[in-house]
């Protein structure tokens, strides 16, 4: 009798423990989702009413004058993304090709490891390096320096996704090309890369989505600019730095514009992510 109640007690204790721990897991999932909802709720709630056509077509106004926009910052962000791509994509994609096609050796392992290391380097540190590499020799803050910093930040993502996507191309494709007597480099460029194209595009978009919101490496490379500028050897405005400056400012109007800018930035990044989802989905449907 006694032993029966003992096992019963243990049984209920185990049941209770099971219920308790499972509830904790559910609760933590709920808590993890809350900040996402809060951030989107606030960004849309506070930013949406400040967005109108002027916001995209006008320049920032001086303090005290309400209204105005950030056309220059939007343009600046696009230019910086372009410069970053010019710096980062060739290095990233070619290194990715090396790793996928020739990198099954010790040196490949080392490069792969270094790519991982590079992806862990804080963006602010990359900014410092871009400062010593570009700003100091040019004696000037410039869009180019910002582009170099962003380009370095793109490299790990582009390299690893390119490698993985090129690896996915079946070897029979390569063998078919070689069997026709096409040299290997042409097989790689014309057959393998073309097959992996959507995959590599995904990696590129992913890297762009990552760097579009980067602020820290731009603070002392691209610096920021309150005027219209497209010159790559001059300081240039960007949405993230704009948000930073306007969020810190003690003017309510500016703070509200910071929210609006954040909304535009999130919107831009969402477009990139949705394109990625679209590209990958149509890819898998084809297969």
């Amino acid at each position: 009798m006694k032993s029966a109640t003992l096992t019963n007690g243990r049984f209920y204790r185990r049941k209770a423990m099971n219920f308790f721990m499972n509830s904790l897991a559910w609760a933590s999932a709920l808590m993890a989702v809350t900040p996402v909802l809060l951030i989107f709720f606030y960004t849309v709630g506070k930013g949406a009413s400040y967005i109108d056509l002027d916001f995209f077509t006008h320049m920032p106004r001086p303090v005290g004058e309400p209204g105005g926009g950030m056309a220059n910052a939007i343009l600046g962000t696009l230019i910086l993304l372009g410069l970053g791509s010019v710096v980062g994509l060739p290095i990233g994609i070619l290194a990715g090709i090396y790793l996928a096609e020739f990198g099954r050796n010790k040196f490949g392992e080392v490069v792969r490891f270094m790519t991982d290391v590079l992806s862990g380097v804080p963006s602010i540190v990359v900014g410092v390096v871009a400062y010593t590499l570009v700003v100091l020799p040019m004696k000037q803050f410039s869009a180019l320096a910002g582009g170099v910093a962003l380009g370095i930040l793109m490299i790990p993502t582009v390299t690893r996704t390119s490698e993985e996507m090129i690896r996915l191309v079946p070897d029979s494709y390569r063998e078919a090309g070689l069997a026709l007597g096409i040299p290997q480099w042409k097989t790689t460029l014309r057959i393998v890369l073309r097959t992996a194209f959507t995959g590599i595009t995904t990696g590129v978009l992913l890297a762009m989505a990552r760097i579009a919101g980067e602020t820290a490496p731009l603070l002392f490379t691209a610096l920021g600019n309150r005027f219209w500028s497209t010159a790559i050897d001059q300081p240039i405005a960007s949405l993230p730095v704009f948000i930073y400056d306007y969020a810190k400012a003690p003017f309510e109007d500016w703070n509200n514009q910071a929210w609006a800018a954040a909304l535009v930035l999130i919107f831009m990044i969402s477009i990139l992510s949705f394109t990625i989802r679209f590209v990958t989905r149509s890819r898998f449907q084809n297969d």
Partner: protein, 338 residues
């Protein structure tokens, strides 16, 4: 041996018969240097081009280290190891020590881990063991969304939503109930170590959660079935899965730690930016990343810039060590079952 003779002297074999001569033609096509070049020039160029860019990636890390070493020579010579033990940061007197920043970085990151780790493991368990797929998918999506929000937007949200909430609700509550601890003393500013730790926790949660989820999923189904078959409850089964994924979760945690250590904008916007070492989490602090972000453009003297670059160098070394350990752990953990 026979094949070698064919290769060396293809013509002599042509007389011996039809079958052999076909074989010898093929072989001679590959090896006869007069007719076919051993390497295609295009192949040689293309391969070496890709090798070159692989070397660029490799050299980039070394170049970064060198640039920062070179850029911080002055302060390294002036302060030596005193740089990491001194807590004075005085641009007027040109006296620099990085201890308050290192303290701020370590404390804010550990605080973030303390908050984020249990939550992330909970989320990972939920996603991999418990949730039906119609719940799992949207939650996974939202967690990934959380990872995609730029740091600056977290900072904006931190300034205008999180900090006021901490000032009005969290800090009064903590000082009322746990005020006997030195951790929770002082005036509730809102801006400070606690705010930094909390915002970092939100930011690293998706990283730790999604990697831990993958690690949990890599545990073979048989482990769970065996446990369930001998009458274990869901939680007891989960415990076994957790025990098998310890090192992977540790690796995920280290990756989160690496991210927290290097995180700049959000922290800079909420930590209060005061280079002091205080045990109270209510007090403002400063981190290595945020001092660089705040003062780099203002640094006017050579020594000032050198000192800031040295801070960046220390940050670089710390994050690299943390990341290497993390990669090693995650790698060995997911490889275990293959």
């Amino acid at each position: 041996m026979e094949e070698e003779t064919i290769v060396e002297n293809p013509r002599s074999q042509e007389q011996t018969g039809d079958v052999v001569s076909v074989g010898s033609d093929l072989l001679s096509g590959v090896t006869d240097k007069r007719r076919v070049r051993k390497y295609n020039l295009g192949d040689l160029l293309f391969k070496n081009l890709t090798v070159l860019f692989a070397v660029v990636v490799l050299m980039l890390v070394l170049l970064m280290a060198f640039e920062m070493y070179d850029g911080s020579k002055l302060s390294f010579q002036e302060f030596g190891t005193g740089f990491v033990t001194s807590s004075s940061w005085d641009p007027v007197e040109e006296d620099y020590g990085a201890l308050p920043f290192m303290y701020g970085t370590i404390v804010s990151s550990l605080l973030a881990l303390l908050i984020a780790l249990p939550l992330s493991v909970g989320v990972a368990i939920f996603l991999s063991e418990l949730a039906p797929s119609w719940v799992e998918r949207p939650v996974s999506f939202m967690v990934e969304l959380l990872a995609g929000v730029p740091s600056i937007v977290y900072g904006l949200w931190g300034i205008f939503v999180l900090v006021p909430w901490i000032r009005k609700t969290v800090e009064p509550f903590l000082s009322d109930h746990l005020g006997f601890l030195p951790l929770f003393r002082g005036a509730p500013y809102g801006f400070g170590m606690l705010a930094a730790g909390m915002i970092l926790a939100v930011m690293i949660l998706p990283i730790i959660a999604s990697i831990s989820r993958d690690v949990l999923r890599s545990v073979p189904r048989l482990q769970r079935e065996a446990a369930l078959a001998i009458g274990a409850t869901q939680w007891e089964t989960t415990r076994i899965v957790l025990r098998d994924s310890r090192s992977g979760i540790l690796g995920a945690t280290m990756l989160g730690l690496g991210r927290a250590i290097g995180e700049t904008m959000a922290v800079t916007m909420v930590i209060g930016n005061r280079p002091e070492i205080s045990f109270s989490l209510f007090d403002p602090g400063y981190t290595m990343a945020s001092v660089i972000a705040n003062e780099f453009t203002e640094a006017t003297t050579e020594m000032y810039i050198n000192a800031l670059i040295e801070v960046a160098f220390i940050l670089f070394v710390i994050t690299i060590v943390v990341n290497m350990l993390a990669r090693l752990l995650v790698w060995s953990a997911t490889r275990k079952w293959k």
